[in-house]
């Protein structure tokens, strides 16, 4: 440990760490473009200048290791002037087309101009022009004029994906970011460059022009695309006279799971969530009233007491699984988690993507839910009613001829609706809360509440109505049962950070 003084405040820091890391960690505002925690220092933007006592000139904080007794000033008039001049230099050829730029509102250039700039333009020569709105592949649009050449995107393709599609061409003010001829950006993590870009040079074709960012509100959720369960920001907005809708997913920093990035498949999976919110209840494929279907389902459960099979999806939350177990014990039903469709051997890679597409298969181990086909075969001999929770694989139970009634409770509409006697929609992943255990055994809490316009309920509420109990929120279930199962971890702790589960 070392002690340094920053603007007359003493802070304790790790010896040998980069100055910018420690300053940012202690909430000191340091403008920067090229430094990124994952990509490290590059020292090209010169924006993070600080005054260090004993040094002749201002130093860049991103390439200065801390040493004991350093005295640093970040707000003196001298250093503000230096920053202003560097920013002026960065903005010399910038087109200042904020009205059409998607980054406006979350742009470092805009923020730093308001922090340290505030000058009038002194430029009276024409600006250098470059190519604008170039589609460089993988849903990324490049604007070379807006670029500050921090090379975060170049370093991302070099160090993280190792695909090296991007590079810097030419010198001086003709210097631009570009792809190589005929070699578009093509890797499963390409859209992360949009988040990495501190300015509007790289924007997402998918999000472009759909919403100005200052309208968006954000929930903290996890991705349900595969068993990695990357942490997400769910950016949504409810327009006046329109329904609540998700406009984009952004990666949320989680050191244990996904770092600062997510894959493109996961990033674009918000579209399915938006579609799911329009699902309506059905009887034999015909649209019906939600309450009617629910009542009918409730009476069927009573009618077939003791002859019921509950098939669980491995993507349900721990709370939902527990609740279904309770339902099974009340109606004397059999439970199975056997499943084949949530697996894709072509999806995974050695970084964030996993072949197992379910988001909570480890939850089956924790709650001791059987997922072997032998047990399913054994159970299903004297079953008359099968209820599929969160899944649409009717082919799994088609061979059992003794099953008279097939019901699905799922967020998305069934692919073959006529095969189900009843279909009851439940709230989709981004509209409910719940805990999930990812493939590496990290327990995470997803907390997203994108509103429904239809009367659809969350699965916990639906089952709670069947059981006639009042336990329908995650907090209550944790208090009653789940806390004991997960080694007395508090829900509040899981909400703040992911926790490694050891007993799986």
């Amino acid at each position: 440990m070392a002690t340094i003084t920053v603007d007359d405040r003493e802070i304790k820091v790790n010896d040998g760490a980069l100055l910018i890391e420690e300053l940012l960690a202690h909430g000191v505002k340091i403008p920067h473009f090229c430094y990124h925690p994952t990509l490290g220092k590059d020292g090209n933007c010169r924006m993070c200048m600080v005054e260090i006592e004993g040094k002749k000139r201002p130093q860049i904080a991103c390439d200065t290791p801390v040493s004991d007794g350093m005295i640093i000033r970040t707000k003196s008039n001298g250093i503000q002037k230096v920053k202003r001049q560097i920013l002026e230099m960065q903005l010399v050829n910038h087109p200042v087309d904020c009205p059409v730029c998607d980054q406006a509102g979350e742009c470092s250039l805009q923020n730093y101009y308001m922090d340290v700039g505030l000058y009038e333009s002194r430029l009276n020569t024409p600006k250098t022009h470059a190519r604008k709105h170039v589609d460089i592949g993988s849903n990324v649009v490049l604007d070379q004029e807006r670029c500050v050449l921090c090379t975060r995107c170049v370093r991302f393709t070099k160090e993280i994906t190792k695909t090296k599609e991007l590079g810097v061409l030419n010198r001086t003010d003709k210097s631009v970011i570009s792809i190589f001829p005929g070699r578009p950006l093509f890797n499963p993590y390409a859209m992360n460059v949009v988040d990495l870009c501190p300015v509007g040079a790289l924007t997402s074709k998918d999000f472009r022009f759909h919403k100005r960012v200052w309208f968006l509100k954000s929930y903290e959720a996890t991705c349900n695309g595969c068993s990695k369960g990357c942490s997400l920001h769910v950016d949504h907005h409810k327009d006046k006279y329109k329904s609540d809708s998700i406009f984009r997913y952004r990666p949320r920093f989680n050191d244990n799971v996904n770092g600062y990035f997510i894959c493109d498949t996961g990033r674009l999976s918000y579209k399915k969530e938006n579609d799911n919110r329009d699902s309506f209840a059905q009887i034999k494929g015909k649209q019906s009233k939600y309450k009617d279907v629910k009542d009918r389902l409730c009476s069927l459960l009573k009618k077939y007491h003791g002859e019921i099979l509950l098939l669980l999806s491995p993507s349900l939350s721990l709370e939902e699984m527990l609740k279904i177990k309770k339902l099974a014990s009340v109606y004397d039903a059999k439970i199975s988690g056997y499943d084949t469709c949530e697996y894709d051997s072509n999806f995974g890679d050695d970084y964030l993507k996993c072949n197992d597409l379910s988001s909570n298969r480890r939850g089956f181990n924790l709650l001791q839910i059987d997922e072997k086909i032998e047990s399913l075969n054994k159970f299903s001999k004297n079953i008359k009613l099968a209820v599929l929770f969160g899944r649409d694989d009717i082919e799994t139970i088609e061979n059992y001829e003794n099953i008279e009634t097939k019901i699905s409770i799922n967020a998305s509409m069934p692919k073959k609706p006529k095969l189900y006697d009843l279909y009851l929609p439940m709230m989709t992943h981004t509209s409910k809360e719940g805990s999930f255990i990812n493939i590496d055994g990290f327990l995470q809490f997803s907390n997203s509440h994108v509103e429904y316009t239809l009367e659809t309920q969350a699965l916990l509420e639906i089952i709670s109505d069947f059981l006639n109990d009042d336990i329908s929120t995650c907090e209550e279930i944790w208090k009653v049962k789940l806390k004991k199962i997960v080694n007395n971890i508090e829900l509040e702790t899981v909400k703040k950070k992911s926790i490694k589960m050891s007993n799986l």
Partner: protein
Amino acid sequence: MGIKIVSRYGNTLKEKLYLPAVISGLKVTFSHFITNLKDTSKIETICYPEQLPKDITSRYRGVHRLKKREDNSIKCVACYMCATACPSECIFIEAVEREDNIDEKMPKKFSIDLLECIFCGACAEACPCDAIAMDTGIFSFVKTKREDFVLDIDILLSHEPMKGGN
């Protein structure tokens, strides 16, 4: 966030004293008062709506219009600043990629609900491209259906600035 300080007028001694401004204002009031006392037929009231006002200036905040560029194409770039600034949230915009190489972005839909609008002029003030204005001089807007008060992009573009405004 910093604060950009803009220089303000009104710091001279004459302006700070207030009295010269008060007196010059009262001069106008009293000159009207005396004129009206002398000859009541000259009092400037009109029989509306048979007679229409002729003294509406171009600063009057009438029904909005969307401006055009020199090549007659739409000036608006759908930046949403007007919708953001609007206190009654009555501006509805949908943006789309502009394909004609004049700019990158343009509105696909742009409608203003005049029943919700409070004619404050914040939209015109917020516009960074000077693409929306309220200088049409249209002070009365009468329709029979509520839906007709929602002006779409074509109607807004068809509005012309007031003629002979000063």
